[in-house]
Symmetry: C2
Subunit: 235 residues, 2 copies
């Protein structure tokens, strides 16, 4: 049975890393002593070692040890053996490229579908959808495919931002970009604001956190979904 | 001799399409009766016909006829025969995919290098760099390559936005994204604010418009470049 948390962001303004999620994570990873961390998204281009070191203090607060996937010789085997898995944010193009390069995209998807507890934040959440095509990130490397884990039957836009109506900037708003996605793709897209997350328990997907989320479906007017809404109907 | 205008945006706030550039365009396209328009970037997913219709009024003001490349059976030949070429904005992934699909990426680069006057705005400017990897757009389609026209020896970030210091949003700033690009790539990136453009005459690249532009080079602190600066040293 799937057991997944998919968060818009790792960190809220003026808070520590994962601080707002720690009560959830304590429950989510209650049966894990050790978390396997996937640092492939390398925020700001930092190394896997640096990134893994950066997240350890948050998990130490809930008494979890963290091991980076780069510390294992056999990455697919590390995933199969993991008690719990966390993929952090950074650049989604880098993350997806590394998942393919290290031959773990498929085994990661299977392992999570079989019930290993998973946490994703930002880029690590993006990959939970069908494709990474609604990321906000720059294409700084060329991945072999945009296909991702497919843990939920729609796509995500983490760090969803409402249009700034006071701005004179002519670049596209987030909503405009997602509408463009729907000119070529029929997959629904959920705009997940910072502070929101999805809880996936088996086939039940529930919106969590204090905010509404914005659902974009092809050829339909976007709708705001209340927290605690069961999203399992979206496909 | 190259004769190119590379603009951050087609449109400034509260202005008509291309309005701020019309005096430049009158000179730039002075020897052209007809402009070949490349509508492949399809802003908002509009059709090639709609997009071409949308830009005609601006060019009518300087007495230019506009023909869309989709109106020709042989797209590469249309480029070779063009008096002047304009590629409009939209989604850079869609634009680059279509340039490859229609087999015109190489011939477009060669034709412009041989002197056919070219105007790019937004996505149509992005493709003037070495790669499209510093676009702001969503990867809504999967292009066969990120390599672009290479008309200038660096990359562009059109619609460059300064960090909003009042924002509590935790998504990456434009500067952070470009720094991440430089964790994997050595190509310099010029952040071109709305209202700025580059004029390329042969090998001389000059910053134009009322604003400064922000230059990002790998492992260096970004610098602000004044308008009218000769940028030919950047490589």
């Amino acid at each position: 049975m799937k057991n997944i948390l998919i968060a818009s962001t790792s960190t809220l303004a003026n808070q520590n890393y994962l601080e707002y999620l720690l009560p959830e994570l304590q429950l989510h990873f209650q049966n894990c002593k050790t978390i396997l961390f996937i640092p492939y998204a390398r925020p700001g281009g930092i190394s896997h070692e640096e990134y893994t070191g950066m997240i350890r203090p948050a998990f130490a607060k809930i008494n979890k040890k963290v091991i980076g996937i780069h510390e294992f010789e056999n990455a697919p085997q590390a995933i199969k053996n993991a008690e719990g898995i966390f993929t952090g944010g950074g650049n989604t193009f880098v993350l997806v490229s590394q998942l393919y390069k290290n031959n773990v995209m498929e085994v990661l998807s299977e392992t999570i579908k079989n019930g290993t507890p998973y946490l994703g934040t930002s880029a690590g959440s993006n990959i939970c959808g069908l494709t990474m095509q609604t990321t906000n990130d720059m294409p700084i490397v060329y991945p072999p495919s945009f296909k991702t884990l497919g843990l939920i039957p729609f796509n995500l836009n983490p760090h969803y931002l409402d249009p700034d109506t006071s701005s004179s900037h002519m670049g596209e708003t987030r909503e405009t970009r997602i509408k463009e996605f729907h000119a070529y793709n029929s997959v629904p897209v959920l705009g997940l604001r910072e502070g929101s997350w999805l809880e996936v328990k088996g086939d039940v997907i529930t919106l969590k956190g204090p905010l509404t989320a914005r659902l974009f479906s092809q050829n339909q007017i976007p709708t705001e979904l209340e927290t605690e809404t069961n999203l399992s109907y979206i496909k």
